[in-house]
């Protein structure tokens, strides 16, 4: 085992919540050397940028970030029940997705409270589409973004319980993404690795839908 690689990573996972960003940033920078082996050298710099772009610290911040995305998805599918003009198989899919996202919202809000935090308020959203095709196009963006958002946040999560639970959600988001992509006649799994996105990148992606 290469101690130079291993040690900073172990230090990273033992960093206390109160220690703050400095040591964590330092640790991520060092640890990013190892990321090159997995993603290829070209990925190191984006990885670092992504990892450091997380604006809120701690698991509550990450959970509230995820909660905001789930609010968006839940509202989107709830509206879609009456707006998307979905029929047959797609209608069932919309109902399933609405139900799953609503469960994610409730679970995340409850978990934030358990950690002693205050759940993020639900933003107001505006989804502009006029037909089924427009709905599906947005759904694909939201689901793919959701997957990348959770994947980007995962390594920042401190609690193993929260990480395991977030993993259970992201896999469901990935399944949604694949199902929506099939509806769009797109590759359901376009790449061997789902790219992680930073909070900033995710917020930029969803900003047009916030009122």
């Amino acid at each position: 085992m290469n101690e130079q690689l291993k040690t900073p990573e172990l230090a990273a996972v033992e960093v206390d919540v109160e220690v703050g960003d400095l040591s964590r940033s330092d640790v991520i920078l060092k640890g990013a050397l190892a990321a090159g082996a997995i993603y290829g050298a070209a990925m190191v710099s984006p990885f670092v940028r992504k990892a450091l772009a997380m604006s809120e610290s701690g698991d509550v911040g990450i959970l509230n970030f995820a909660l905001t995305l789930e609010y968006l998805e839940a509202k989107f599918y709830e509206e879609a029940k009456s707006r998307a003009k979905a029929k047959g198989e797609l209608k069932s899919l919309v109902n399933l997705l609405a139900e799953d996202e609503q469960q994610h919202v409730e679970a995340l809000a409850a978990t934030v409270k358990k950690l002693g935090g205050k759940p993020a308020a639900e933003p107001k959203f505006n989804f502009e589409y006029g037909d089924t095709a427009g709905f599906l196009k947005l759904a694909q963006i939201f689901e793919d973004t959701g997957v990348s958002a959770y994947n980007g946040a995962g390594p920042m999560i401190k609690s193993k319980e929260v990480l395991a639970a977030a993993g259970g959600i992201v896999q469901v988001e990935a399944r949604h993404a694949a199902a929506i992509r099939l509806q769009n006649k797109e590759e359901p799994a376009p790449a061997a690795f789902d790219t992680p996105l930073s909070e900033k990148q995710v917020l930029k992606a969803v900003e047009p839908f916030l009122v």
């Binding site: 190892a34 799953d100 789902d194």
Partner: protein
């Protein structure tokens, strides 16, 4: 969550467990931790002692990566055999080719990651798969992909290195996508576990793939 004996962050854990009671949503969320499922992980390897349930594959993250590598070898071999079988044509064949190519990429990435950590990549297991009909093959593919996704999920919280975790997550969600496609082809639910996917432990996973191992 009795299986989680040690934690990276004791402060968070105390806060997490401090408040009693639960709503349905919380119960479901926590179920994703595996505390009430039949596939609960039993590892106590959270502090890198190397004695986790993947210990037979190596210490710490190397063991987890080699465990994943072994599964990816099997998936890659399976899809290659399915392509050769001639049971599929057209769009379905293309899907199978694509998934097989992605599993092969996972193999390469995992091998490189093991080496980067100073470990030795696990050997490719010899395997044979029953390829009787298109339907039975799709069913097997569905089983394999859902199991693969659950296997990654079962290990995510055991991974020490943030970089290894980032890579495992990037693969995990792709396995989830594959699983959803196969479930769709089979006319089954894309989310068989509901809104929160359940993990599978090493023992369960290895037992499931054992029938396909040769020698």
């Amino acid at each position: 969550m009795p299986e989680m004996k040690q934690l990276r962050d004791p402060v968070s854990r105390r806060k997490f467990l401090a408040v009693g009671g639960s709503s349905t949503a919380v119960a479901a969320f926590l179920a994703a931790c595996g505390d009430d499922s039949g596939t609960t992980t039993t590892t106590t390897d959270s502090m890198g002692s190397g004695d986790g349930e993947t210990a037979q594959f190596g210490k710490g993250d190397v063991g987890i990566l080699n465990y994943a590598l072994t599964l990816e070898y099997l998936e890659t071999a399976f899809y290659a055999d399915v392509v050769k079988s001639g049971l599929f044509k057209g769009a379905d064949l293309e899907t199978i080719r694509k998934f097989g190519a992605e599993e092969a990429e996972h193999v390469e990435a995992l091998r490189a990651a093991v080496k980067q950590l100073g470990g030795k990549p696990a050997p490719e297991p010899k395997a044979e798969f029953p390829l009787k009909s298109a339907k039975s093959v799709l069913e097997l593919a569905g089983t394999v992909e859902n199991l693969g996704a659950a296997a990654y999920l079962g290990q995510a919280a055991n991974i020490q290195s943030p970089e290894v975790l980032a890579s495992a997550l990037a693969i995990h969600s792709v396995e989830g996508r594959h699983a959803a496609v196969l479930n769709t082809l089979l006319g089954e639910s894309i989310t068989p576990d509901g809104a929160f996917a359940k993990p599978a432990d090493v023992k369960t996973v290895l037992k499931s793939v054992e029938p396909f191992l040769v020698g």
